[in-house]
Amino acid sequence: MNNEFYPLFFSFHFYLFGLIALASALLFVTRKSPVAAALWLVNVMFCLAALYVMLDAQFIGAIQVLVYAGAIMVVFLFVVMLLNLGRPEDVSDIRGQFPRLAAGAVGLALLAEVMVLARAKFPAQIESAIPSGDLSRGEPGGIIGPVAELLLKDYVLAFELSSMLLLTAIVGAVVIGRKRS
């Protein structure tokens, strides 16, 4: 999808998915039942995946659906349902005035930050170094090629180290989660 050729089409879908994502996120934080909240979060993930696809990052969009909407949220729902936390009456996320005000303040701070950062300009030299245009067409590896290039060449050490991190986390979780000796 190219916003240079289809500006109206692009902005229509951008606002469509953006607004659905915002509304779902709002519902996610205001629902009292954890199950309903989790399902709204799945909706947010789907909308974000659509936005990624519109930005020519189809691979990341697919991963977003598979990993976040699929794996993580399903596990989340399993935990919520297995522990039987799905009853709304004894769960309340935000209590009192102060947390509401604090949450609002954090939201405003983030909004201000987005405004400030949106005005920042890339220097021309860096802008030219950022890959642009259609990665999906004419590249030998398709759109996964550049990702693989980064993952297995430039960041291969970071890639391997993240498996070490996961291993550490698994060992730690098993140690903490085991019955007391």
Binding site: L167, V171, R180
Partner: protein, 521 residues
Amino acid sequence: MSFDLLIPTQLMAALLPDIVLMVGAMVLMLYAAWRPDSVQHQRSVGMASIGLLVATLGAVIYMAWRGDTAAQGVIAVDGFRWSVDVVILIAALGTIALAIEYNIRQGIAQAEMHVLVLFATAGMMVLAAGRDLMVIFLGIEIMSVAVYVLAGFNRRSGAAAEASLKYFLLGAFATGFLLYGIALIYGATGATQLAEIASRIAEHRLWGSTMLLVGLGLLTIGLAFKVASAPFHMWAPDVYDGAPTPITAFMASAVKAAAFATFARIWYETFQLLSFAWGPVLWWLAVLSMVIGNVVALSQQNIKRMLAYSSIVHSGYLVVLVLANSAAGTAAFVFYVLAYTLATFGAFAVVSLMQEGNDEPVRIADFAGLWHARPGLAVGMSVYLLALLGFPVFGGIGFFAKWYLVVAALTSDINLVLLAVIVVVTSVISAGYYLQVIRVMFMQPRADDARSVPITGPLTKAVLATTVAVILFFGVFPTPVTAWSEWSALPRYYRTPVGGPPIAPGTLAPPPAASPAPEAN
């Protein structure tokens, strides 16, 4: 030879000690799970871990002896890395030696404790090497995740569970800052490698970029959390107090050394040109850590909390060395970290012997008359505390560490005279709590109902004897350590912004057009 880190085999060769440790740790993880938990099995896994750490130390020394270098890449191959590795491995060796006997005394049978210490050590070695913000971030996480679990390892202790959860939540919070900072720095420069970021800042004159400065600020907050420097120190006393004492020693020494090593490297190699922005921030970070840590430590009754506040003070001293931003500063950093690690380690080793139950805090009053009951321990503890204080002769290597710290602050390009004065004044104040423990040990009678101190096991004895010997020996002959730390200093180089005036040695960052901030002081 000079490694080309883009070639996989050469990258692996440059990572030799790390690979030895990681592969060994994974094998030991399987071995730990192979047999049912027992105190004996815990002991044998611990001994195997000590063997693995010695092998890794050998690999580090071999690499340092070969003196290889590397072109700019994801990891550094330089003396600074090997020196920090040596300090980290010494601390890890001590931790496991203490932990084996601590576990036997406390009846902890899970052998995974040693494996997690090895994983954390592997993460720290990555931190010491990392020259890419992604690699550094993963190193911090490998280290932190392992230490979160280690802090709560004693499942029968409520305090340990609280400490672990507190550390985890605040650590995750700090990680958020760190990652957000890295993301913004990437957004502003388009690079994650330190050298690449530095050259893009210089080339494109990015020192006025809001995004970069916000990213740098978030990165500073995240790292300040990890090294427990005030005002981001709140978690440290509770976590140090609740965690098993060998792990507290590990956190106070190795975790701090590794986090500071990467702190120093990032600032030294990358953000030279932004020193107008971070100079004042680090200046206040150092002052607050020194003042708050000292004032609160004076009123502590619990010795672990007292040592925790003392470690906050020392992180203030180390921030001074990051701020000094000179080759002498990084050399003094290595020296200081070694001295601090040995002294902190010994002090916590003595405390771990005094601990009886799981949740019973060790008070300073419990040390009353220790000289009459266990003269060896009392003398050892005095040496460690005097080393932390920086006392001449009896404090051994600690005195020279403070000496080089003050010299590095005074000879820095940045005017740090006021900070050096504060270092000296706060050191004098810290005598108030360090000497208090010594006074109690030597000048008060042992109460009749005082806790019996368990017999020191051979491993703990070895840790105590070695640290005391090293502290005192190099306190008399500091030359080898000085030469070693000078060898491991990061090289000094200046970057000239394209089209801008060359930066003359002796001046700070280029005068940025947009924000002419004053120098730190």
